[in-house]
């Protein structure tokens, strides 16, 4: 007897076949009290090119080929006893498939025995494993990147967070969260108003946002996080929730602060060295050379009319050459330690630097305009002066400009220096490639400004002139170690 022809089957067998036909991904085996299979059917059987004859007459445990025979026998016996059970096992043929076997009693007045409903679950299990692997990878990536993800339901205020975000905020697992409670407890008190204000603002705007703030973990540790997110709208265009991430940037911020502190120490050391060198040159060499000049002139006077014209001419020439050398040395000292900057401040120093640039290059003008009404922090003055000095040196040496300008704008928050010219400009990308950027001093200018918490920008293009802008806060805090 086969189970594939319903018109020859008993009522029990017919219903069995009907069931099998309606579940095309199943293979159904029916077995008797001896566990011997008397029917095998199902869409999955035919889909694999198997026939019922291959199975009928075998006992069910024999399907496993010995690997799980005892488990299968137990399942069949349980079915005979009226109990349902389930197990998963590797495939019959080919062996890399995974099957789910459900053992159920046969009922309904038919023959005594049971059924095994077999389903190939290889693909669902692989998909589930892929999902689990993906989740593991996401969790691992979040752990490594110190990024936690979250979802904020605007209607319920519920906040669903990833494990990494819980770890980041020091939250125990399983505790239900709301955005209101999280903002009230986790946000650092000094940042709370700013963050809650921002949250209120974004409630009506699904645009991507980013906000950096500090959090206080339950153990009291303060961390800095960068929160990014964006809104999600429903099919009616209604903003229903936000999704986003919080990244722990504490170490990055500390490293940045430490780098700035070290850079500032380098600059301070360099300025100090320049000051000492300038003082040595001024107090020693310039004075000695000046004295030699006075003696040469005295010698010329002493020779007077009695000396030969050739000797007088020679002494005159040597005195002039010496004078030129002293002038050059003085200018070197001025570059090392711009006295006018120390004595009279940034604007006066910039005017002298602009005048010097005009003298050194074929500039028709180099205007200086300033909104400064008072002296700035010496560190800020020195940094901006050095930037302007380098920018003007670039104008002199590279720009082929006719006009240049130096502008200082100032408001309550900070001071902006702008040095512009109408010269040949350059391709910033090309400059970076050919490493002339170091030659132009752009890296040094940028580092100096950014080390003080400022911003640096160069706007230029071939034939379009160049504008160098540096903005700094009015005062800068000298950060201590670990700040």
């Amino acid at each position: 007897m086969t189970a594939e022809t319903a018109d020859q089957a008993s009522p029990g067998e017919a219903s069995f076949q009907l069931l099998a036909e309606h579940l095309p991904d199943l293979i159904i085996f029916a077995f008797d009290t001896e566990l011997r299979m008397w029917a095998a059917t199902g869409g999955a059987l035919r889909a694999r090119g198997w026939t019922s004859e291959e199975f009928i007459g075998m006992t069910v445990p024999e399907i496993a080929g010995g690997t799980r025979a005892d488990d299968i026998r137990a399942g069949c016996l349980a079915a005979l006893g009226g109990e349902r059970s389930q197990l998963e096992m590797a495939g019959y043929d080919p062996p890399d498939r995974l099957w789910s076997l459900h053992f159920v009693p046969l009922g309904g007045g038919g023959p005594e025995g049971g059924m095994v409903l077999c389903r190939d679950v290889t693909e669902p299990r692989r998909a589930e494993e892929l999902v689990r692997a993906s989740q593991r990878q996401l969790a691992e990536a979040q752990r490594i990147a110190q990024v936690g993800s979250w979802e904020w339901d605007l209607e319920t205020d519920a906040l669903t967070v990833s494990d990494e975000l819980r770890r980041l905020f020091g939250l125990p697992p399983g505790v239900e969260l709301t955005m209101t409670r999280a903002a009230a407890t986790a946000i650092h008190p000094a940042d709370r108003v700013r963050v809650t204000t921002a949250l209120e603002r974004i409630r009506d705007d699904p645009s991507p946002f980013a906000i950096e703030h500090r959090i206080t973990r339950p153990d009291g540790e303060v961390r800095t996080v960068l929160a990014r997110g964006e809104g999600v709208v429903d099919e009616d265009g209604r903003l229903v929730r936000f999704i986003g991430t919080d990244q722990d940037v504490t170490d990055r911020r500390r490293a940045g602060a430490e780098r700035r502190r070290l850079l500032n120490r380098v600059y301070e050391a360099q300025e100090g060295q320049d000051r000492r060198l300038a003082a040595d040159l001024h107090d020693g060499h310039v004075q000695s050379l000046a004295a030699i000049g006075f003696k040469l002139e005295q010698a010329r006077l002493r020779l007077g009319a009695s000396g030969s014209p050739e000797a007088d001419e020679l002494l005159w020439q040597v005195t002039k050459d010496l004078s030129a050398e002293v002038t050059a040395l003085r200018r070197t000292i001025g570059r090392l330690r711009p006295l006018v900057l120390v004595e009279d401040g940034l604007e006066a120093a910039l005017r002298e630097e602009a005048k010097s640039a005009c003298n050194r290059a074929a500039l028709a003008s180099c205007e200086v305009s300033s909104e400064l009404v008072m002296r700035l922090d010496p560190v800020v003055e020195t940094a901006l002066f050095r930037v302007a000095q380098q920018a003007l040196a670039n104008v002199v040496e590279h720009a082929s400009a006719t006009h240049a300008e130096v502008v200082i704008e100032c408001d309550a928050k900070g001071v902006l220096l702008r040095v512009g010219d109408d010269g040949c400009g350059f391709d910033p990308d090309h400059v970076q490639v050919i490493a002339d950027i170091a030659h132009f001093g752009l890296i040094a200018m940028r580092e100096r400004v950014e080390s003080l918490g400022g911003r640096f920008r160069v706007t230029t293009a071939p034939g379009q002139g160049t504008v160098v802008e540096a903005s700094l806060p009015l005062t800068v805090a000298v950060e201590g170690p670990g700040a």
């Binding site: 001024h282 310039v286 004075q287 004295a291 006075f294 005159w316 002038t327 001025g334 004595e343 002298e352």
Partner: protein
């Protein structure tokens, strides 16, 4: 009339000595030497020179402050500043303090003597009884 009387002020001994020798050779009378600004103020009051040849950067009291004090007490005494710092801003300050001229060490030969002559001429115009021109101008 006597030769122009100068007070030479410089904290660098080598420079001061060379200056004094040059000025003597050039026919000026060096009435005294001061080693800093405070010394210069005291000696200017005591010696009443025609012209003070003043350094800028000095210990105790700088050249600008010394110039102001001297000019407050004796407007007729002329001060010629001789410094190693070339700075338009400092030059402006020096002129505002009352200096007659601002010279930079290493300036072309003869410029110093010329400035001293001009300072002397200006002083004579203010006070005709002041010293005559140097013999070897």
């Amino acid at each position: 009339m006597s030769r122009p009387r100068l007070l030479v002020v410089d904290d660098h001994p080598i420079v001061r000595a060379a200056l004094v020798d040059l000025l003597l050779q050039a026919g000026f009378e060096v009435a005294g030497e001061a080693v800093d600004g405070a010394d210069a103020v005291a000696l200017a009051k005591q010696l009443e020179p025609d012209v003070v040849l003043m350094d800028l950067r000095m210990p105790v009291l700088g050249g600008l402050d010394a110039t102001r004090l001297i000019k407050d007490a004796r407007p007729d005494i002329q001060v010629v500043l001789l410094t190693a710092f070339e700075s338009p801003a400092l030059e402006q300050q020096a002129l505002e303090a009352g200096c007659f001229a601002y010279l930079v060490k290493g300036c072309p030969p003869g410029e110093l003597r010329l400035a001293l002559h001009e300072a002397m001429a200006w002083r004579r115009s203010l006070r005709p009884s002041a010293g005559s021109a140097p013999l070897e101008a």
